[in-house]
Amino acid sequence: MEIQTLEVRPQQGYPVYLYLPQQTLLEVRNGDTVRITVSYSYRGPAKTLTLYGAIGHKLIWFDEKVNGSRQISLPDSQSWISRTDYVDVLINTAQISPGTGYDMYAKFMEGSSDLVISPELYDVINVLAMNPEFQNFQISNWAKV
């Protein structure tokens, strides 16, 4: 067999079922902004697409609580190019209740169509309430005054 065309694909990351990025738990409050950074390889015509990120709960489907989006201009490229981009999501407790174990995902959209969706990250966001919270409250000393 004579090889006529050899396609070099970008390096494959973890397969989805083994996708275990280093997950750190973020604690956020109302008014905070979470920046979600995505990495990917791209091949195709020059396009301006919407990078979309959301925080919520993955049930059967992803129940979005808050989201953010940003326009990304991708260059024309006939070969795979590696890129990273980010999207910011504002935490608004009127939309996302204080609680623990929120999930996140990101995607690229063209108009209202989803072009590519990332695997979800689970239990990565805790939303803290604005009411006073105490920790380690104890009598540390006593004296006559």
Binding site: Q4, Q11, Y19, V28, S39, L74, T84, E110, P119
Partner: protein, 219 residues
């Protein structure tokens, strides 16, 4: 008829020519610029032939020095650009047409791909139709895109390799995939071997790979 004389490479704007020899006693009379003189008179080995070339208003554009000798039964061509007598070129011939590559090897709809090919030419200048096609070689070549254009090969006294290309617009008539190409000279039915898998037509949609959340942080 004893001999034939024609001219080539006359100055631009020339429309008529005439030739004389034997002390000016034998003349061709007015001839169209591409018309040969089929001389009915004996050549006598004359070495005093002169050629004069005129424009449409009978203004002299060129006059040769006397040349010769000329003999009966021969064909001659006077090259005005060099003021020399040359033998008529052989009949035009082509051989060894080969499609060598397609550039770029990957293209999208809306772009243009050049089918590069080469061939060998010998003999007189000739205008021919060069044709190239992109498609799939099966039992026969299933053409999807093609182009053709006219090209005049100059005169070549020996077999001379010519490097050519034909630009084909990649249109929506072709689907994303891998394709073959060939080239030919239409009038001669001279067809190159098929060049296999030489062009990848890319889809016009965005493609992603390894789209992952790499990190996240609180600003």
């Amino acid at each position: 008829m004893s001999f034939v004389l024609s001219i080539k490479n006359a100055p631009s704007g020339s429309q008529w020519w005439r030739a004389e020899y034997y002390g000016g006693l034998i003349s061709s009379g007015w001839l169209g610029i591409s018309q040969p003189w089929n001389c009915p008179y004996a050549a006598y080995g004359a070495a005093d032939v002169t050629v004069s070339v005129f424009d449409g208003n009978s203004n002299l554009k060129y006059k040769s020095l006397p040349f010769g000798p000329i003999y009966d039964g021969q064909e001659y061509v006077h090259d005005c650009s060099q003021s020399i007598l040359v033998w008529p070129a052989e009949a035009s011939q082509f051989r060894n047409i080969v499609a060598t590559s397609v550039y770029p090897a990957q293209a999208r709809v809306g772009q243009r791909a050049n089918v590069n090919f080469e061939l060998e030419h010998l003999g007189a200048s000739e205008r021919v139709t060069l044709y190239a096609s992109i498609g799939n070689q099966g039992l026969w070549f299933d053409e999807i895109l093609y182009t053709e254009y006219q090209y005049t090969f100059p005169e070549h006294s020996v077999w001379t390799k010519q490097y050519m290309f034909a630009a084909i617009d990649i249109t929506s008539a072709i689907s994303p995939g891998i394709y073959d190409a060939y080239a030919k000279i239409k009038e001669k039915n001279l067809v190159s071997p098929t060049l296999h898998d030489c062009l990848t037509v890319l889809g016009n949609q965005a493609e992603f790979y390894n789209f992952l959340i790499a990190s996240y942080q609180k600003l």
